[in-house]
């Protein structure tokens, strides 16, 4: 199965000779021994916002999770910023928004605490949170449309607000490659517009964005390229 790449419009201000942020060549991913995807080729360059689309069960989430090493890679290779994934150490350059709708645990957690946890990979284990880190968290909250929500408990937020908190967590690490898995599911139109402008802003600063989407919605404005995964029963 090969990904069909359909350019929607020319990517704005992409440096011509720049290295890709993400390259997948002949990638096969799955859960345990079950293969979900095979022969995937995907490249995402800095400044691009690539939408990954496809029917339910096509393996969109598996692709994102496979890239991050959260599920099995059966074949092919994944390179992050030119480095094979096994050798890649700069994980602070990568942000991830999982598909999950909620974050709950047994103990109350504030929005700020959740979002700050996305900053952790920029710090050493014993290092304290500095002014720059607090600023990054504030910016991330604003970028996700959650300014003023920082002291609220995550469990008291609506589903859509929790999704935005997960986005803010990814933004807090100032990622150069951001992978989002259906960030608009269950999110209202206004928040989708906030997300669109946040992603556009990120891409302008040279970040690479790959976003799994079921419906383009307001994000159609900022998506520079769409790749489509054929469904499981579609001919490869």
């Amino acid at each position: 199965m090969l990904l069909s790449a359909r350019p929607r419009r020319a990517p704005a201000a992409v440096p011509v000779a720049c290295d890709s942020a993400l390259t997948v060549r002949g990638g096969g991913f799955g859960h345990g021994r079950d293969a979900v995807l095979t022969g995937v080729d995907l490249t995402v360059h800095p400044g691009e916002v690539v939408a990954v689309r496809g029917p339910n069960g096509a393996g969109k989430s598996t692709l994102v999770r496979g890239v991050l090493g959260l599920c099995e890679t059966h074949s092919g290779e994944v390179r992050l910023f030119g480095e094979p994934r096994a050798r890649f150490r700069d994980w602070h350059r990568v942000g991830y928004v999982p598909q999950r709708h909620t974050v709950t645990g047994g103990v109350p957690v504030t929005v700020r605490e959740l979002v700050s946890s996305g900053r952790l990979n920029r710090l050493r284990a014993w290092q304290r949170f500095g002014e720059a880190d607090r600023c990054a968290v504030d910016c991330a909250l604003e970028g996700a449309g959650l300014a003023g929500f920082d002291r609220r408990l995550v469990a008291e937020l609506s589903g859509g607000q929790q999704r935005r908190a997960l986005l803010a967590r990814a933004l807090a690490g100032d990622p150069e490659l951001l992978l989002l898995d259906e960030p608009t599911a269950g999110v209202d139109a206004a928040s989708q517009r906030v997300l669109a402008s946040t992603l556009a802003g990120l891409a302008e600063t040279g970040a690479a964005v790959a976003v799994v989407l079921h419906e383009l919605g307001p994000l159609a404005e900022v998506v520079t390229r769409t790749v489509t995964l054929p469904g499981a029963d579609a001919p490869c």
Partner: protein, 292 residues
Amino acid sequence: MLSYEFMRLALAAAVLVGLTAPTVGVYLVQRRLSLIGDGLGHVALLGVAVGLATRSAPVLTALLATVVGAVVVEVLRARRSTGTDVALAIMFYGGLAGGVVVVTRAPAGTPTTLDGYLFGALTTTTRTDLAVFAGMAVVVLGVTIGLGRSLFTVALDEEHARASGLPVLRLNLLLAVVTAVTVTLSMRVLGLLLISGLMVLPAGCAQLVARSFRGSLVIAALVGVTVSVGGTAVSWYADTPSGGTIVLMAVALYAVLSIARLARRGGQRPRPDAVRTSVRPVDRVDEIPLPH
């Protein structure tokens, strides 16, 4: 009460346990592993029995058994194999049964009753015990507070932590080892069957009143120290076993806080979330600040 050396030692041990057990417990509750301490308590009994049977220090053999048990639990969890649940049950009950059987092989003259270990024998704490407890408490608090942010991140969302490049397995193993150390440390104060109570109940109390994770840690530690010192004092005056008294105080505090919370919620009418739904309908376009 304080004029007796053994009570001063007992109270000092109670402070150490009251402080450490809940700080570990908060992470366990966050990870929804509340009952792991109970299982490790069962495994610790085998360690105690081996210590008694071989005339070596039961605290050290118990520590060894719980550390091995805790590491096995984490490895089983990380492999996510089916049947983990049953594997854990086999380990926990095997440990308990092994302890009961092995202890009968203790040489003549050894106090072979396991009661002190099962239900706590705080007033038998010696100065040497206290020094060992203090060392263990420093190790536990060093991890739970020093590495708090990393442990919190993993406990909150393990998958995201892994995607962030955090050493998830190592952090989980570290928490498992620290849990094992806490179980062994609390063994004398609370008894192996009641250890989990002081790990989990203060975290439960914090759940009711805290407004953040950091707040939960502080409240759980405060509750832990209060009930363990209070329980020890009550057990002295009321002539009751220390472990049971401490855990009953924690249960009572949890009940009081739950009732207070219910009363406070009942007093607020209409409920705040009801107001939110009725005043703010679906469309909230104007309220969300657009970034520029």
